[in-house]
Symmetry: none
Subunit: 217 residues, 4 copies
DNA sequence: TATGAATGAGCGTTCATTCAT
DNA sequence: CATGAATGAACGCTCATTCAT
């Protein structure tokens, strides 16, 4: 279930030749590099093209405008993260709630930490509203996957599954973002990660109803 | 303990006269309005000046450059929020942990929701690294206040107070940010708020050690 | 009765200060010079600004975009011509048809020849549709003035005044344009001018009905 | 007597093979279509090639550069018109002056009206100086043909044949152009056409000298 | 020979900043 | 002090042209 971008933000062409694919990758990587080293304000088409070893014109053969490039980059990034989360959710079906929580937090955390500078660079580049549609799509995807997972919890259930999922995801995503924003040293970050798991588990325990209890009612 | 900005970002003058204060306020308000209605990309000095009913030249008498204006705006905003949190922390000294948690979440939430568009506009305007120092200062301030509050909890204590505070704040701040970012409808937002309190309380209960227990050891 | 431009083509400000008026004139004159010496294809904002001894930015304070500058230039030019024709038409009220024709042709011819290179440069710069509204407005203005004049002819009348006027103007304007386009040497051009008068007069004589005749009917 | 273009504007090859001729036609037609639908400003090589169903590269096999294409298109167009006028002039040899005038005007008018949008599109695309040589060549051709025709008028002659022909052609061409430029509704355009004939005939009658008269002198 | 990806000079335009008034 | 016209570097983007395939 990949995101379908608004038409005005879609890339101009799908790479048919191998060369084109290479070029496209170079452009994406260059964008990231510029974002990291120069910041979003200095993310200019010329600079990206230069870094990619391509001419501006070439860039414009792949993307109708700068926005579209940026959009595509975010799309790529979020798709990757979403896939990982979905995989985890699939893998944990039928497990116990605690395991789910731990896996969820850890997966998301790792996905974000893998290339920490990229994550940070993208966090800093909000700026344009159009990305909102992207974030929404990402959120929906992950919502669905997570809800499905928690619906399959062994020996328990939730009175208001949707809210629980929403709360979990909102706080996990938010906490991670905050940690990046505050630029915490690794040890502190790790502590927060561990405590975040504790927190989410405490929460889930609180809101979950054991099947026994439920049947008794 | 107000934030002290890096010298290159400080306003040119402290408003001595009433007139100056009025102008300054007009400029700040205009900045916010432009930010909300036109977005961060269209936040130009000319536009702000126009909206504020001042000439660009005048604006440059108060701020050495655009960044400084933006910095000052964020400073003002964060100072306000910090003050509210500090006030709450002071008020809740010696209370029970649960009350503290609820008060903390609610205060922060309200502070952010009071002028929701402003909050959102500022969230969307990250962009410049320089704000990081501001966020850090804010975080430190709130950290200290919160730690002090939780250190005074009645009949209980925390094994690792600092991590607990860090985790709480990171997740509260992050969750709120995520809620804004996802543009959740009010009811869902409210649900998340309530569940966030539940979550934090569950967490605090988990990590707190009763004084009795502690003394026994 | 000055032309009112479509709003998107109107200049940004009316010159309030003397300095501004000078700047505006310099820009107009520079535009003409560039048009003459470099041709419409090389009429770039940079080149105009340079020639005018102004920065590009300044140009954009007077005109929202290149088109608007070009539009305003044509407007100025056509207004001038229209005024001259109108003056002639006013002066010739009640005269004999022959005198009117000669005056009309001569006035238009002179208006166009006065700054021949400018005329030619503008003829060569059609290109953009938007000018059509300008040409139409100009045509209407001159139509009205000319019709009023010919309606006042002494001792004669026209069966179909509007068509006569339209034919006269169309052929006069067209002929002049053709002469410029073919870049005829002066003597030939002058011959054509004289013969154009002969032609128009022969035409007018043919289509006019003497008052005597008319009353007899 | 076909036009011989300046060498730098000539197409790269004369179409030897049928396939080439087809391609060439497609390119020309595409150029016209783009001109009509997108205007001269949007007449890009890529767009033309696309519309013609050819690659840019192929286009450059036929024309060394865009100008050459445009030049060739105009050449084609003017050649067609010139041929029609020449045919008429040939057909009317020895006829009466009035018949000649009417035939001349009608032929030219029809040639231009046949594909009115094409005519208009080309009128709007003057722009480049190089076309002047084309127009000149066209004018010379038509001048010669027309002069030959009027030299053969039955029972009359002209004191200054060249000027008469020049005046006639200049005004006919010019009037037609003006009519297109003003975008007159059909009925008005037709009226002007009829009156143009009247006008030219009145003129010719005025400047022609009957053979009898002449011999008397 | 045909292709179309790649090129890059050059365009129109914006906007933070300055400084004569 | 306040003004706002002037500045010009730097941006996003276009498109005629080339050349490896």
């Amino acid at each position: 279930m990949p995101t379908t971008p608004p038409p005005h933000l879609s890339p101009r062409k799908r790479p048919r030749q191998a060369r084109a694919a290479v070029t496209l990758d170079a452009i994406f990587e260059a964008t990231i590099q510029v974002l990291i080293s120069d910041g979003p304000r200095r993310l200019t088409t010329t600079r990206v093209a230069e870094r990619a070893g391509v001419s501006v014109g070439t860039m414009y053969q792949y993307f109708p405008h700068k926005q579209a490039l940026f959009y595509a980059l975010n799309e790529r990034y979020l798709d990757l993260v979403a896939e990982k989360v979905e995989a985890t959710c699939r893998a944990l079906r039928g497990a116990e709630a605690e395991a789910m929580v731990e896996a969820l937090v850890t997966t998301y955390w790792q996905a974000k930490t893998e290339r920490a500078e990229v994550t940070q660079a993208l966090y800093r580049s909000v700026v344009e509203l159009d990305n909102e549609s992207l974030i929404e799509a990402f959120a929906r995807r992950v919502d669905v996957a997570t809800a499905a997972m928690f619906a399959s919890v062994a020996n328990a259930a939730f009175a208001d599954l949707n809210t629980v999922v929403l709360t979990l995801l909102t706080s996990i995503f938010g906490t991670v973002r905050s940690v990046f924003e505050r630029n915490l040293p690794v040890e502190e970050a790790d502590s927060v990660l561990r405590h975040l798991i504790v927190m989410c588990n405490a929460y889930v325990r609180t809101v979950q109803v054991s099947v026994l209890e439920r049947e008794r009612i």
